[in-house]
């Protein structure tokens, strides 16, 4: 996709690091925040976490703007950062959850598939409702990238460092799971 000229101008002003660079960066933020937020949201599936990731993405971008290759679209670069930030947050969250689960098990309690704990986790995560929320994070993220962000399969493949075929397979896998969740009544398939 050709880079809009205005993005190039903004990038140039930001790289100059003069007084106007922050203003230019704010314009870049306004232009790309929706896409970055959606990207983070697709992976993290929590609004607050996605807001944090959005913020962190642009802070990292600002701090490392010299590393951006001006011949490549800045949007793709931001998406890459958002992806990395979101995956970091996701790993951190999983680590926390594993730790919590381990603690519960050591205390002799039940694992978090206990109904109450699951409901609580659903409440915590629950911004994407219904069957979508039951998808594994990676599949959900790819689905959001493809459907909500209108990214092409090769762009998604580039982001995830996988082949386009793998992307297609994962989309199909997501599709199958969605159908399964929707057909199966109760907690696994419907709203929690």
């Amino acid at each position: 996709m050709p880079t809009p000229p205005l993005d190039d101008e903004l990038v140039e002003r930001i790289r100059s690091r003069d007084d106007a660079s922050v203003e230019a960066f704010s314009q870049l933020y306004e232009r790309h925040k929706q896409a970055v937020f959606a990207h983070a949201f697709g992976i993290l599936r929590e609004r607050a976490a996605a807001e944090d990731a959005l913020q962190e993405t642009f802070l990292r971008a600002h701090a490392n703007f010299e590393k951006h290759d001006p011949t490549r679209p800045v949007s793709a670069w931001l998406q890459r950062i958002a992806f990395n930030v979101s995956m970091d947050a996701l790993r951190s969250r999983r680590k926390d959850e594993n730790t919590k689960q381990g603690l519960i098990l050591r205390k002799g309690g039940s694992a978090p598939d206990d109904a109450f704990e699951c409901a609580r986790q659903d409440e915590e995560r629950g911004q994407i409702k219904g069957a979508l929320s039951r998808l594994p994070e990676e599949l959900s993220a790819i689905l959001v990238q493809r459907h909500a962000l209108d990214m092409k399969n090769d762009q998604i493949a580039d982001l995830w460092k996988v082949s386009t075929r793998t992307v297609t397979e994962r989309l199909r896998e997501a599709s199958a799971l969605l159908a399964q969740f929707l057909k199966t009544p109760g907690r696994q398939g419907g709203d929690s």
């Binding site: 922050v22 933020y29 925040k33 913020q55 599709s175 199958a176 057909k183």
Partner: protein
């Protein structure tokens, strides 16, 4: 051949995601057209995918990003407080006056001194904005402004208003007798170009009831102005050890500007007063320790003046026991119960909490305070009030006209913190810092340095905590120059936590004047349970929020157990709605408040007893009671106490009164 539903369903979403081949798409669409179940599932899949469309992020996200970008760009060096080690923003920092270690203002105050190991400095300094020029003549300019102005003060003090005004000042010689040749007064500020007037020279007389400082041309030291002086004058000089403290800039009798203790300044004022005495007046000087210049009054001729000035100059503060009251009683005797007594006081009235007034007969007493302690100030005011005199306090060499903009001096209900804001129109070039000492009648004093207000270069402001409870407060505001000398000072009294003036009926008021007795509407026939004809002692307790006053009930229980068998009865009047009666009863039972409790949902009873809850406090924080004996009010209390003080309040105020009424009880 029609595909099975189980094969189609997993691909329904994939079809929307572009993850199916063209051939698969045709099969899916053909199946969906024929199969109602899969068509419905397809609709659900579409709806589910729509949920993946994300609503926009929060609109104010950029602000935080911008803040962090700017912060990251700032230098990484920052201050941390020497005491608490937390980050310290530069505008908030104060510095040790000795080693310049940075502190939070609160931390320095809490620690009481510099927190640096080995540094015991107790003074702090603040960073001032850079001035455009730091030429050496800047302090001289300040002095040039200060000198003539203060001289104007001195000159007016010395200048009688009667015929003696024209009496030439003694010609030069011995410094002890030389009245200062007052320089021509110079204008200070835009409105002080006159030689006489409240802006510069008029002494300020503090209203005896402790209200605002007001102007009054009758200075304590202007002896000639007093008709009583014709019967003789006795000066009573406070020479207690505390008089050696509180150095402050003052105008010495020779006209020079000096720093001196309370005692130095009192001696200077006494010297000037003696010099101003007309020849036909007889006088003497005594100290609070009983030392006398002469055993009886002497004429104010030059010889006696020279002699007394030498006696004054050689006199120093005195550690021997004495009493201002005794010294003034002694002076009254010397004057035969007439004449004028001029007391120069600072710290002598350590007993000031309780009035032990001297016998003054028909003598008029004028009191001048020299940075007086609160007890001495109270003593001086009461003394002046009792003896038809005046009380005033010295001014610094310059009166920068301190104006208290906040709070209002008739503030009635204060929250936890109090915004103090003063304006000093003379301001910036002369005033380097402004300090406020917040005092309570109990003698607690806390000092704060005010910050320069961002919106007005001549204003200074600070948010200070209100000292416990609803005590009246004094604000003693001192403006200092760059040498930390006090160049202006003004005191204010804040009446806090009270209701409207005179809202509480005074002791001795008969209940017939109170506006109706108390009836209990919950008892059949609503009988009167307290009115002017009721005999015995009754404590009437008004409360507005019955669920937040267990301390009060506990205290009342204690009083009942102590005085109940002596005849003390208690009536509670609670502002409680009818619908809450059941809960109220439970609460009272739980707290053993088994005396008569009368509901007063519309505050009708409370208002008839002069209690306006809306001004005396908020949300039931007022502790309000009346002690009534034989149909007359003995004690009324309507204030916001600090709850920690409820017990001491019970001991000091109520129990103290009750013990007098029931002397058999300890």
């Amino acid at each position: 051949m029609r595909a099975a539903c189980g094969e189609i369903a997993p691909l329904l979403a994939a079809r929307r995601l572009g993850a199916v081949e063209a051939s698969e798409r045709k099969v899916i669409e053909a199946h969906v057209l024929e199969c109602a179940d899969c068509a419905r599932l397809g609709e659900e899949v579409d709806a589910c995918l729509e949920e993946a469309r994300v609503c926009p992020p929060a609109p104010d996200g950029w602000k935080e990003i911008e803040r962090r970008i700017v912060k990251a760009a700032a230098p990484a060096i920052s201050l941390s407080c020497t005491f608490c080690h937390a980050r310290l923003e530069r505008p908030e920092a104060v510095y040790c006056a000795s080693c310049l270690a940075p502190h939070h203002s609160e931390c320095f105050r809490e620690h009481g001194r510099c927190a640096t190991a080995g540094c015991a400095e107790t003074n702090l300094v603040r960073a001032q904005p850079a001035r455009p020029s730091r030429r050496r003549w800047t302090p001289l300019l300040a002095l040039a402004v200060a000198l003539p102005a203060s001289a104007a003060l001195v000159s007016l003090e010395l200048r009688p208003r009667n015929a003696e005004t024209t009496r030439p000042a003694p010609q030069a010689p011995p410094p002890s007798l030389a009245a200062p040749a007052p320089p021509a007064p110079a204008p200070i500020g835009p409105s002080s170009g006159k030689t006489e007037g409240p802006s510069v020279a008029e002494p300020r007389v503090i209203d005896p009831d402790g209200a605002q400082v007001s102007t009054d041309v009758r200075a304590a030291m202007n002896i000639v102005d007093s008709a009583s002086a014709r019967d003789g004058v006795v000066f009573v000089l406070d020479a207690t050890p505390g008089m050696a403290d509180e150095p402050m800039a003052y105008r010495a009798p020779d006209g020079s500007l000096q720093m001196g203790s309370r005692f130095d300044r009192a001696k200077a004022a006494l010297t000037l007063a003696v010099l101003s005495l007309p020849r036909d007046i007889r006088f003497d000087v005594v100290t609070e320790a009983g030392h006398r210049w002469k055993s009886n009054l002497r004429g104010a001729d030059d010889s006696n003046k020279q002699d007394v000035l030498a006696w004054i100059a050689n006199h120093d503060v005195d550690a021997s026991a004495g009493s201002l009251s005794l010294a003034i009683t002694d002076a009254t005797k010397m004057l035969g119960g007439r004449g004028l007594i001029v007391a120069l006081v600072g710290t002598g009235a350590a007993d000031g909490t309780f009035w032990q007034g001297p016998e003054v007969g028909g003598s008029v007493v004028r009191v001048r305070g020299f940075t007086p302690t609160e007890a001495t100030r109270r003593f001086g005011k009461r003394l002046a009030e009792a003896a038809s005199g005046t009380y005033d306090e010295e001014l610094g060499p310059v009166d920068p006209r301190i104006v208290l903009e906040e709070p209002s001096t008739d503030a009635v209900a204060l929250s936890r913190n109090l915004r103090i804001r003063v304006r000093i129109p003379l301001g910036k070039p002369l005033i380097s810092s402004v300090q406020v000492t917040v005092g309570t009648p109990g003698g607690e004093e806390t000092s704060y340095d005010l910050n320069r207000a961002p919106d007005d270069p001549s204003a200074y402001t600070l948010l200070v905590p209100v000292p416990g409870g609803d005590k009246d407060m004094t604000l003693d505001i001192r403006a200092r120059d760059s040498f930390r000398a006090v160049v202006g000072r003004r005191g204010f009294m804040l009446k806090t936590g009270r209701g409207t003036k005179n809202s509480i009926f005074a002791p001795g008021t008969p209940l017939s004047a109170v506006g109706g007795g108390i009836r209990n509407p919950r008892t059949s026939g609503a009988p009167v349970i307290l009115d002017a004809s009721t005999k015995g002692t009754t404590l009437v307790h008004f409360y507005s929020a019955w669920d937040d006053c267990p301390e009060e009930l506990s205290m009342l229980n204690s009083l009942r157990s102590t005085f109940g068998d002596q005849g003390l009865s208690i009536i509670g009047v609670g502002s409680v709605a009818t619908k809450d009666y059941a809960t109220w009863d439970r609460f009272l039972t739980e707290h053993r408040a088994t005396w008569t409790n009368v509901p007063d949902p519309a505050d009708t009873i409370a208002r008839s007893w002069g209690i306006e809850r809306t001004v005396t406090g908020s949300q039931g924080t007022t502790f309000t009671l009346y002690l009534v004996k034989d149909g007359k009010i003995v004690l009324g209390h309507c204030r916001r106490p600090d709850w920690r003080e409820v017990n001491s309040l019970a001991d000091d105020l109520i129990s103290g009164t009750l013990r007098k009424m029931f002397p058999g009880r300890r």
